[in-house]
């Protein structure tokens, strides 16, 4: 019995006659909304990491950017600085230990080419083993490729955890993308000259893709040159003579395509093998990294507690300091998440003031805040043998700007950071502190 096919899957939620006459206006409005001007996004999420992780994991300090700012395509910027990994007892338990880490930058895609990178002078072509409680120096040389205004951060990737982003600096690159090139030599005898790594071997790639596209299209055209879909569907359904569907000419063509394909594949591979006499697998593995030797400061510093005051946008941290050294010291800086809160250098006086001033020279102004104060106003030096409780206060809008104020909503309400003390000779003494954070709303 013949049956007609009827679509019974009427999925329209509203009968056509019930639809609003103005529905088309809504569709036009929605379409036009896609053309609304949008704010350009220049960042890459560095402020969206948990504040507790940014303040309590890797501490970047003494970071400098040589060559940043106005640049031309092909110019290089060198980022240098130090990274401190807090000791195991302070390291966030939500992050894995940096047994395997990698140095790179965070920025918007491949707008810069990485030319060189080192941790403690070891080339970082591959990953390396890092230790908690250690300090390393780093250096990254980047070459501008793409014109534009780019923000660039040194970053340490940690296996199992992800990237920890350091402080960033702006670059304004002008020129033409075509001026960018990374060149070098390759091959067993260094006889292959690479003029530009970005266009290296593209002629071979385009050539082979063209060959296979051409062959594939010939194969398809052979079949679709005849009436294809409905006549053949009917022929299959009606069980026509199968020699009409696949003819002997078709089979001869199939054999020809098979032979041509196999010959081209084998010939191409054999030729490539003989042309490139030494071929390696991709290289992996990690390299050992030696931490810097940091002299003992003879200071015993412990954080007692910290409080973030929401309306005042200030973080206060009470610490106890015992000076076991032989020089009086003063607090000069509290650095966390790449933000450097410093005291008025004049309050340190002499060589210490100069040392503090020099340490922040060249650091992005948005990250250097001269707001650090001592709550009771006692700015006198902590003398050798003296123990004193000091409450540091850093009040600044940067807590909000950098999203560190989100600590009030964090499942981990703890703050950490580096405190830098200065002695009279201008020596800088670094200590890491970590404390739970209360929140004050008035």
């Amino acid at each position: 019995m013949m049956k007609s096919i009827k679509n019974t899957n009427q999925s329209s939620a509203v009968r056509i006659e019930n639809q609003s006459r103005y529905a088309w206006l809504l569709m036009i409005a929605i379409t036009l909304m896609t053309f609304l001007p949008v704010e350009t996004v220049s960042a890459h999420g560095e402020r969206m990491h948990s504040p507790a992780l940014r303040m309590r994991s890797i501490q970047f300090y003494d970071v400098t950017w040589q060559g940043a700012g106005d640049m031309k395509v092909g110019d290089q910027v060198t980022m240098e600085g130090k990274i401190y990994f807090p000791a195991k007892e302070y390291w966030p338990n939500t992050m894995k230990a940096p047994d395997v880490g990698y140095l790179q930058t965070s920025g918007p895609a491949a707008v810069f080419a990485k030319v060189e990178s080192y941790i403690s002078e070891t080339p970082m072509v591959q990953s390396g083993g890092l230790k908690l409680g250690s300090t390393y120096s780093f250096k990254i040389i980047m070459q501008a490729r793409i014109p534009g205004k780019w923000h660039m951060h040194p970053t340490v990737q940690i296996t199992g955890s992800g990237p920890i982003v350091g402080p960033g600096e702006w670059t304004n690159v002008t020129g033409s993308m075509s001026d960018a090139s990374v060149s070098g030599v390759a091959g067993r005898d260094k006889d292959v000259v690479i003029d530009d790594l970005a266009t290296y071997s593209l002629d071979v790639i385009f050539g082979w893709h063209a060959v296979w596209f051409a062959l594939g299209i010939i194969w398809l055209l052979w079949w679709v040159k005849r009436p294809t879909l409905l006549p053949r569907y009917r022929a299959v359904q009606e069980e026509l003579d199968k020699n009409l569907l696949i003819t002997s000419a078709d089979k001869r063509m199939g054999v020809l395509m098979l032979v041509v394909t196999v010959v081209l594949v084998a010939g191409g591979a054999i030729n490539a093998d003989s042309t490139h006499n030494t071929v390696l697998p991709l290289q992996t593995g990690n390299v050992p990294l030696e931490p810097l030797v940091i002299e003992d400061t003879n200071l015993v510093v412990k954080a007692i507690k910290s409080t973030y005051n929401v309306p005042k946008r200030s973080m206060s941290m009470e610490i106890s300091v015992t000076n076991n050294g032989d020089s009086p010291v003063k607090v000069g800086e509290f650095a966390t998440a790449g933000i450097r809160f410093i005291v008025n250098p004049a309050s340190l006086g002499g060589a210490a003031a100069q040392a503090l001033q020099e340490s922040v020279t060249g650091y992005p102004g948005e990250y250097v805040r001269e707001v650090l104060a001592i709550e009771d106003g006692n700015t006198s030096a902590i003398l050798p043998g003296e123990s004193r409780n000091v409450t540091l206060v850093a009040a600044d809008a940067v807590w909000e700007i950098q999203n560190l104020s989100e600590i009030v909503l964090s499942p981990v309400r703890r703050a950490g950071g580096l405190i830098f003390f200065f002695d009279e000779e201008g020596n800088r003494l670094r200590q890491y502190v970590d404390a739970s954070t209360d929140v004050a709303y008035n």
Binding site: A110, W219, P281
Partner: protein, 282 residues
Amino acid sequence: MAYSDAITQKLNMSTNEERTYRLFDLIIIPIVVVVLGAAFHLHYMLTAGDWDFWVDWKDRLYWPLISSVSFVIFAGAVQGLLWRTIRMPIGMTVAAIGLIAMEWISRYVNFYEWAYFPLSQVWPATWIAAAIFVDAILLISGSFLMTALFGAFFLPTIFVLSNYPMLAPFRIPTEVMGTEVTVADWVGYTFQRGGSPEYLRIIESAGMRVLGAETWFISCLFGGFLSIFIYMMWWGISGIAVRPYSRANPFAAYMGGEEPRDDEKIYVDEYPLPLPNRDANK
């Protein structure tokens, strides 16, 4: 054209009818290639994505294995579908051409123009040679089983060998800061991805399970072995897909539709559909 004449004449088609069908081909075939290519591209990028995106992920161990398993799922189904419905051994080639065309569009527009990755880093591997090979085996053998054994099995081998001329220049050694790496490693080092450390690349490493230097061979062998079964499975699934049937939509009344009458429903056991010429041609 002799072929079209033979089939259309046997079907008692008029010239007008044949011309209409030809027009239908010209409209539908390009759409099918683009839609299949886009869908295949989505599937392939989600399953074999990084191995195909980056030149320093195209390793000896995982790249042939994962790529061929991912490819044969979709391409095998398309081949089965076209063979069953119109008896044309071009399914894999259609899928491969659609896939590679979409990949090139994506690599150029998204990776190169938008994110500034150079094409030397993000060129796609080709599948067309392997697809033609398997299609030709199907045509010559006319057998799904023979195609699985002698076609699908060699998919990873043909895939690797057909891409080797493009890959080999990136596998020669070079020295970066005193360390010998391949040019592909150097490319990956120079043009940084969001997460480009080498430990994030899922590639062959010098583990205890890597025996000797026969990684290509072992990977292609195992990839071919897997491809046989995945090919057979998806060829079978495509068989379900080509069977046109409908069932009553129980929610039709709630959505403004009407419940179908019993005599309007088409059930699976009525396949193949009754056609007027069937009896006449038998």
